[in-house]
């Protein structure tokens, strides 16, 4: 009974995670410039993958597997913002302009005219 309940929950988490991944990919394709694309990919992508790893943790009734799945999720949560920040910084410093729709660009005056 309780196993069946957790299996239903795990299946729903799996579907939700893959839909998050699909939304991240759609955002990657539709958004106008590199910074907004990064916003879609690094947040929704991490969420989708994290939900899929959480589904493993819920479906498996094994302490070691649960620990490894949670460790993978925490690792993703730690590394994804770092990677996105490094990439955004590199893109901005090498002169990739934000889209025309950007309203506030506080770093515009000095750095982009380099």
């Amino acid at each position: 009974m309780i196993i069946a309940f957790f299996q239903y929950i795990g299946g729903l988490l799996m579907l939700a995670g893959s839909i998050f991944c699909l939304l991240a990919a759609v955002g990657l394709l539709r958004l106008p410039d590199i910074y907004t694309r990064m916003h879609a990919a690094s947040k929704a992508g991490t969420m989708g993958t994290g939900l899929l790893l959480t589904a493993i943790a819920i479906v498996s009734f094994d302490g070691a597997i649960i620990l490894r799945a949670i460790a993978g999720f925490v690792f993703l949560l730690l590394t994804a913002p770092v990677a996105a920040h490094l990439l955004a910084r590199a893109a901005f410093l090498t002169g990739h302009k934000p889209t025309e729709l950007t309203i506030i660009n506080e770093l515009d005056s000095e750095k982009t005219k380099k």
């Binding site: 893959s18 394709l29 694309r37 993958t49 899929l52 493993i56 990677a83 996105a84």
Partner: protein, 116 residues
Amino acid sequence: MSSADFLIFAGIVSFAILSLAFFLTILRIILGPTLPDRVIALDMLVYIGIGYIAVVVIYTGYFLYLDIAIALGLVGFLATVAFARFILHRGRASEQIKQMESEPEPEAKKKRKRKL
């Protein structure tokens, strides 16, 4: 529908959705106008790959594949950091390169050649 059947059904649907996401991300890699666009799409591709492995783990029941997912996450992070360093040192926005090439000043061209 019993719970095990539902898990298998969710696995198949997740495979289909993740395949669609994979396809859209590869489209961005092909289309991507600049290098950082392609790098961020590659990063996303790694995430989707980890998701694929997670669905395979649940679908087949071989929980050993989870270690491969964690290793893939590590490699993807290091690859993105390396690409960011590469862009910082070598990459330049395509508009700027066009500007420099259209400028008649020899100084700018010299600078670019020295960097390349």
